[in-house]
Amino acid sequence: MTDRTRELAEQVRQAGIQRTPLCIRGGGSKAFHGRNSQGEPLEMAGHAGVVSYEPTELVITARAGTPLTEIEALLAEHNQVLPFEPPHFGAGATLGGMLAAGLSGPRRPWSGSVRDAVLGVKILNGRGEPLGFGGQVMKNVAGYDVSRLMAGSLGTLGVILETSIKVLPRPAASLTLVQELDAARAARRVLDLGRQPLPLSGSLYHAGRLWLRLCGGEQGVAAARQSIGGEVVQVPVWQAVRDHALPFFQTESPLWRLSLPAAAPDPALPGDILTEWGGAQRWLVSDAAPEAIRTRVQALGGHATWFRGHPPDGAVFHPLPAPLLALHRAVKQALDPLGLFNPGRLYPEL
């Protein structure tokens, strides 16, 4: 429950003087995510605690090292949730790690992503200067949106010290329907439902079964259940898919995350595929050549992340066109001119 901004800033300044790269570490639950990065550890765990939380403002502000479980438990006391359902991927997941990883769970297409919910951040830049961007209000267009830039940057742009996140009321009712369908019909069904104003909040298709989740008011959910049909299930499949606890994910083969247009056809790559987000996020377990996967996914208008089972120095994230990579380098340079933070974690050049 302490504010360690000063010590952290001092450590960054020292690292700058000695030109020593830093590896920013929260709970270590997502250490597998991204490329290998070498440097002195910068431990965030002690920089923890909820700074402010006013439920009727729909905003929580907490330090980066605050455990995600603590945040979610506090919100639950007030019948609120993080609407983007961030994956934990382990017991120690922290708020800062959640933002740095930028990953969202099953409800993302309907309630937005981590990045959508970020309202403000405090960071240390590469000079060890504590900076504040955004704030605690939902509408704020003063200055460039550095807060959202942090989402998914994997700590390569700055040390996330604190963040303010928009929260939502927990839906009064929630239920999951399952039906047996072949892949083509399931894909069509999900697209058709997506075009209707229904209280959908999750979709999952694997091996002939389509799960759909409805969230909202009691009557709204009940009415939607009638119109959608299918069997009600009690199995908590959503948390399991969020944290990759389903048997599908228990594999030694490489796991790929494919981000695709929802209506993109089956990429027809060798291996097993699990589809979420109304078609927009597909998990692929495949031994196919990375190049083949990337070429195919890019041709369908998406990008592919080698999520698990990649070599430490492998190309985890989809390669960027040269001019875009050059701009990434310039942005990195603007925030972290000495290249101190998590070098190479996102791309070798950053």
Partner: protein, 495 residues
């Protein structure tokens, strides 16, 4: 004056610039005569006007690249412009620069109902997207009050809001991808038809960057299914605090309305005199609460909201029984700005956002300040998301009133920052709020913004002098005001 200093190009440099642009573009795309340039002398912030050195209206990416190349060669700044409806002077021309009008990029390239996206050129009007998507039962959610005229490219530049932000977000939440040109003429694609892109979220950085980082030449937006039903309630209160508590109660009870708007007594009276919406003119505050969703969802929510409004001390709660009445309830709120324009020779619109819990305190302080400065104020408020639009009434023809109004406005924005809010919720900084930026951000943050700008535009040629003040300019000061009710686009609702 907040406007960047007037620097004229030497006549021979201007002639050379125009000649090079003419060589690169079709004849009709280069405007250099004063009478051709006048339509571009200002945006929606019409207190500030000036002619650009030259205006160009390209209609292809290659032509924009050619413009940027010529500008680089001449070291001349470029000011991008969409429909020119912005309220903070972001599209104010530079007298030594090129005004780059994107109005001819006006094609809807694709409506894709299965992916629920629209791919459009930046000059397409906001409302035109929803109109084109309507055949599929889809629409584009952000609805800034100028939506019949404002362009989607401008919306990206300003991260525009609207009255439905609480539930549906701002532009940044509804744009999936852009194609842009850097000042170097490099074509970049950020995001696309999927829900995220690889690498840094430069799309977020571009959204709301007020034309300082790049030129948007294509936008992919997310479309939503049109709600089955929309209904609005109107509640009257004997105090603004009670109305504020009602807003908190609705949210505490797990209801996220599509729209939640508040007006105080002076705003209610002005609006009622103007549009005869049937507002209760004796009320100290009214709330408009719009609910949307499926039939079942709305039926359920409306009962709950009605109950909460009554419990929170509403003296009266009305539910619009049909679409005509819903439009009537909204007419007063949407007509609030012109309504105030009718009762005062001039008004000055502020755009701060505050954490809602401080509403009572902030409005009370604004009332005190109103007394101290001897100027009336009417408040309209996007109550759901804390975005406050105090309208300061004054008469610029009276000695010292403009200065008093500006000082009053500064005090309000400082108050917004002091309670943890921001100096602009949706109108942008432009040239108008450069000074208040200095109270919201410290020197280190402002320097960081400049470093980011330099990462995109090292020569500083894109819309220089807007959005982020230099530390030097933080010593300077100024404010917007609307002269003699002479708001540009007076036909547009402002809310």
């Amino acid at each position: 004056m907040n406007a960047p200093a007037e620097v004229l190009l030497a006549p021979e440099l201007r002639r050379a610039l125009i000649a090079d642009l003419r060589a690169a573009l079709p004849a009709t795309a280069v405007l250099a005569e004063a009478e051709e340039l006048h339509p571009y002398e200002c945006d929606g912030l019409s207190a500030y006007r000036r002619l650009p050195a030259v205006a160009v209206l390209p209609e292809s990416v290659e032509q924009v690249q050619a413009v940027l190349r010529v500008c680089r060669e001449h070291g001349v700044p470029v000011v991008p412009r969409g429909a020119g409806t912005g309220l903070s002077g972001g599209a104010l021309p530079l007298s030594n620069g090129v005004l780059l009008g994107l109005a001819r990029f006006n094609r809807i390239l694709a409506i894709d109902p299965d992916n629920r996206i629209a791919r459009v050129q930046p000059g397409v009007r906001n409302l035109a997207i929803s109109e084109a998507a309507a055949v599929h039962g889809l629409y584009y959610a952000p609805d800034p009050s100028s939506q019949i005229a404002c362009s989607i490219g401008g919306n990206v530049a300003e991260n525009s809001g609207g009255v439905h932000c609480l539930k549906y977000g701002l532009t940044v939440h509804n744009v999936l991808g852009i194609k842009m040109l850097t000042m170097d003429g490099e074509l970049l694609e950020l995001g696309g038809a999927s829900l995220d892109g690889p690498g840094y979220d430069l799309l977020a950085l571009m959204t709301g960057s007020e034309g300082l980082l790049g030129i948007v030449i294509e936008v992919t937006v997310r479309l939503l299914p049109k709600p089955e039903r929309t209904q609005v309630l109107l509640a009257a209160y004997a105090s603004v605090e009670q109305a504020g508590e009602a807003v908190a109660a609705i949210i505490a009870n797990g209801i996220i309305p599509a729209g939640l708007e508040m007006m105080d007594n002076p705003a209610i009276r002005a609006a009622e005199d103007f549009v005869h919406a049937g507002y209760p003119v004796e009320a100290e505050a009214i709330l408009l609460c719009e609910l949307d969703g499926t039939n079942a969802e709305v039926s359920e929510a409306i009962m709950g909201v009605r109950e909460l409004l009554l419990q929170s001390g509403a003296t009266e709660v009305r539910t619009a029984t049909d679409e005509a009445q819903r439009q009537k309830f909204w007419a007063g709120r949407k007509g609030a700005f012109p309504a105030v324009g009718r009762i005062s020779p001039d008004y000055y619109c502020m755009d701060g956002t505050i954490p809602r819990q401080h509403l009572g305190r902030v409005l009370k302080r604004i009332a005190q300040l109103s007394g101290e400065y001897g100027l009336k104020v009417a408040n309209v408020f996007h109550a759901g998301d804390g975005n406050l639009h105090p309208l300061i009434l004054f008469d610029a023809n009276r000695e010292g009133e403009l200065e008093r109004a500006e000082a009053f406005g500064t005090a309000i924005l400082d108050l917004c920052v002091a309670v943890g809010g921001t100096v602009t919720g949706e109108h942008g900084i432009g040239i108008e709020k450069l000074a208040p930026m200095c109270s919201q951000f410290g020197a280190a943050e402002l320097e960081q913004f400049h470093a980011l700008k330099a990462a995109f535009d090292p020569a500083g040629l894109l819309n220089p002098g807007k959005a982020v003040p230099t530390l030097h300019r933080c010593a300077e000061f100024g404010r917007m005001h609307v002269q003699g009710g002479e708001l540009r686009f007076p036909e547009l609702p402002r809310f």
